[in-house]
């Protein structure tokens, strides 16, 4: 047991206690949490700073507004319903199209309007919110993901998670939905995490349910060696988010849209640790290097360049 712990330490693997004690608790002042916990505020913040986000269609704040929902949704063929304060991808409903008066989810299920209304009610009553307080439902554009993911994605939209420490990208991971995750890009729910070469934006090996793997479990295509377009733009976007939120240790979730390029999806003040397994690398050596040098680096360009130089595969 002790040898195991010592080995992990040598590899620089960060455990959850270490993350909480030395990074999220000390680098992330509590008062800035609402900026990232509320997706609506994150969106507004990003728009003010000129960071592209998926277009917001509607916000449902109160129960009575649900009655008008069917009417308001009419112009949109596909959309995503998500709780403003949800966590871990809970409560996100992706509507891919319409079948007559009904809706079709990205997983292929057919839902009547009543089902949609009920889901929104659940969101409003706080079922998915972090502390159970009442919530708002956001309805936004469904991202049409970049064709580079076509072969390694099963339903849903893959997203890219970048850990940013003191404004520098540290580690990145591509998250691919699977049949098991129900189209959600959440590792807890069974999505595949694929490590990314921070220098070039090319995928490395993957991790699925704690195990390493090289092929997507549903499509069978190799998840290795896929080059992501707009990589530099994505890193710059991620680096800018740190300034936006005043958070020292941050997870930035982005999607790659076919037309609009990288879009900011959400921010996370307590990003998970599975990214280390996906990248087969520990976070700690990188974080320590940043600790030593981050004061010398001013400006987004310099920070991204530093990260690409030192944290490449």
């Amino acid at each position: 047991m002790w040898t195991m712990a010592r080995q992990l330490k040598q590899l620089g693997i960060m455990g959850i206690n270490r993350r909480n004690a030395d990074f999220t608790l000390t680098c992330n002042p509590r008062r800035f949490y609402p900026l990232v916990d509320d997706k609506l505020r994150t969106k507004q913040l990003a728009l003010e700073a000129g960071i592209p986000v998926p277009e917001l269609y509607l916000v449902v704040e109160k129960e009575f507004q649900v009655r008008r929902l069917a009417h308001q949704l009419q112009p949109y063929e596909s959309f995503v319903i998500k709780p403003a304060r949800g966590s871990g991808g809970d409560g996100i409903l992706v509507i891919a199209g319409r079948v007559g008066a009904n809706y079709r989810t990205s997983a292929g299920a057919i839902l009547p309007q009543a089902e949609i209304d009920h889901h929104v009610f659940q969101i409003l009553s706080g079922l998915y919110s972090l502390s159970g307080q009442t919530d708002q439902a956001l309805i936004e554009r469904r991202v049409d993901f970049d064709p580079c993911f076509a072969e390694i994605c099963y339903q849903g939209v893959p997203d890219i998670r970048v850990i940013v420490f003191k404004g520098l990208p540290v580690m990145a991971m591509l998250r691919l939905p699977t049949r098991m995750s129900g189209g959600k890009a959440n590792l807890h729910q069974g999505a595949v995490g694929v490590g990314l070469d921070l220098a070039a934006g090319v995928t490395l090996g993957g991790v699925w349910r704690q195990e390493r793997l090289h092929e997507h479990p549903d499509t069978g295509h190799s998840v290795r060696g896929v080059a992501l377009p707009h990589w530099d733009a994505m890193l710059r976007l991620a680096a800018r988010c740190a300034e936006l939120t005043h958070l020292g240790y941050l997870g930035v979730d982005m999607v790659l849209d076919r037309e609009q390029g990288p879009l900011l999806l959400e921010l996370n003040a307590r990003p998970g640790l599975a990214i280390q397994i996906a990248n087969r690398a520990g976070l700690l050596p990188r974080l320590e290097l940043i600790e030593q040098h981050h004061r010398e680096l001013t400006g987004v360009e310099a920070r991204v360049a530093f990260a690409q130089r030192y944290f490449g595969a």
């Binding site: 693997i13 455990g15 270490r18 659940q122 998915y128 280390q276």
Partner: protein, 509 residues
């Protein structure tokens, strides 16, 4: 920088807690281990009568502390009555009075009684005067004949009294004693007669009336004894065998003639005596009886609180212990549980039912609750009404299970407390959300994790030694706090993370 502050704080807390603890343990001789418990008896007298719409006066004898018993926390419950208590010679008496009362009246007396072990010699009392019993003429001759008989058949006063009691209990075929008894053959009347006959023989004696504290009982009979005075003290005699000595379980209530309750201004008087008992730590009774000297520190001890408040604190002080275990299980082991401290609350709920039944009962209730919750899910209820519906169903289930358990003769299921019920409802709701969002595997994992954590917390919290230590030495909580604070800065791996990151280790080989 921060860490030095932290260590300093932990050190201060530990030193403070330990020095207080050592002072109490070594200097004040507080017991380190839970000693044998003793019983604390609660005696209650309930008086009911019909008032005749005129001034009412009720007098009642109440027990007083003696060499063998300490009577504390007297309570007299009477609506609208004035109350005075007085001590006359050997008896303590309560007097209730009211200007006017009508209809059914109920008065209560309650007291807490503890056994006392004293090594002091019995108190000496001045020799009482022997009053002339004033038997009427034919009875006087019979009484004198009885005295003659018992004198002849005894060697000393002790055997004289024994002989008399024997005679009183077996009057068949003996004319003199039968005539004296007449129709008054109740135990109390026999003792009064014995006192008078002994007075005729020049032996000071008195009757004693009290109760046996043996088992808890709703209806306790008075037991009457006899005492005679010799060698500057009172010597008790068993009313049946006449043997001298009094059992430990006998609580004297009052002495001498006169009945327990006297009523003026009412009718249909009924008196019911009942006893119940509670277990009590030996230390507690020692403090109450004043055996442990009370320095200033002890004035602020929890042992000085009223008994029912102490009971609350006995439970409350265990919560930090449970929380500490949760800290270990979550931050060092990495066990997933519902809510942060819900397992501690579940463990508290187990106190009522014991572990095994608690686990069975809890799983059963949560399982059925979950099924109903999923059924309600179909009806598309909103969150708060749905929670309320689940709560309602849980209450119903609880009643049903209790009824079933009772029918099956399993008493453990019967303890129903408010807190555990709310905990169960919250568990059901949380579990169902996790079930929907993360799948049944995760929900069951967390459910089992919660129960395992609760069981462990229960097992530790239920140790008598632990209970004794935190209650007698609450300052140990400071040491616990220091440990919690130190664990708060633990940034090493959790046990489950070793498994989580095991793919790295394989790669390293």
């Amino acid at each position: 920088m921060n860490n030095r502050h932290l260590y300093l704080l932990a050190l201060t807390l530990t030193v403070l807690g330990l020095s207080l603890f050592l002072y109490k343990a070594l200097a004040l001789k507080f017991p380190l281990r839970p000693e044998a418990e003793s019983y604390l008896w609660k005696v209650e007298a309930k008086i009911t009568f019909m008032a005749d719409n005129e001034p009412v006066k009720v007098t009642m004898f109440v027990p007083r502390s003696s060499r063998n018993y300490a009577v504390t926390n007297d309570a007299f419950i009477s609506r609208g009555y004035g109350l005075t208590t007085s001590t006359e010679e050997v008896n303590r008496q309560a007097l209730w009075s009211i200007r006017q009362a009508k209809g059914l009246q109920t008065l209560y007396y309650r007291g807490e009684v503890r056994r006392v072990e004293t090594k002091e010699p019995p108190l000496t009392t001045p020799t009482p005067k022997v009053e002339n019993p004033k038997f009427p003429e034919p009875e006087r001759i019979a009484a004198e004949a009885v005295v003659e008989r018992i004198r002849r058949r005894s060697a000393d006063t002790d055997s004289l009294v024994s002989e008399l009691i024997h005679l009183l209990n077996h009057p068949e075929g003996r004319e003199n004693i039968s005539m004296l008894l007449g129709k008054r053959t109740s135990p109390a009347e026999k003792m009064e007669l014995a006192v008078r006959i002994l007075a005729l023989a020049g032996v000071p004696a008195r009757s004693v009336h009290g109760v046996n504290l043996k088992d808890r009982s709703e209806k306790v009979e008075l037991v009457h004894w006899l005492e005679h005075y010799e060698n500057r003290r009172w010597n008790p005699h068993n009313p049946i065998t006449g043997a001298s000595g009094i059992p430990d379980s006998y609580l004297p209530w009052w002495r001498g003639p006169g009945s327990l309750v006297n009523l003026k201004g009412g009718s249909d008087l009924r008196v019911n005596l009942s006893t119940s008992r509670d277990l009590e730590e030996a230390i507690q009774s020692a403090v109450v009886r004043g055996q442990i000297k009370k320095p200033l520190l002890l004035q602020f001890s929890l042992l000085n609180l009223p008994l029912h408040t102490q009971q609350v604190f006995k439970v409350l002080l265990l919560v930090p212990v449970g929380a500490f275990i949760l800290v270990i299980l979550r931050n060092l082991v990495g066990l997933a549980t519902f809510g942060t401290f819900m397992p501690v609350l579940i463990a508290l709920a187990f106190r009522e039912t014991r572990l095994l039944w608690g686990l069975v009962f809890f799983s059963l209730l949560v399982g059925v609750g979950l099924l109903i919750r999923f059924y309600l899910e179909n009806l598309k209820l909103l969150l708060v009404p749905r929670l309320a519906a689940v709560l309602t169903v849980v209450v119903g289930l609880l009643a049903l299970f209790s009824l079933l358990a009772h029918k099956l003769g399993v008493e453990q299921g019967l303890s129903v407390a408010l807190l555990p019920m709310v905990i169960r409802t919250m568990t059901i709701e949380r579990m169902s959300i996790v079930w929907e969002e993360r799948g049944p595997q995760e929900a069951l994992q967390q459910g089992v994790g919660s129960l395992a954590a609760a069981s462990l917390a229960y097992l530790v919290m239920h140790q008598r030694l632990v209970q004794h230590l935190v209650f007698t030495f609450p300052e140990l909580l400071l040491v616990l706090l220091a440990a919690i604070v130190l664990l708060g800065r633990y940034s090493g791996y959790r046990l489950t993370e070793l498994w989580r990151f095991h793919s790295f280790l394989k790669g390293a080989d």
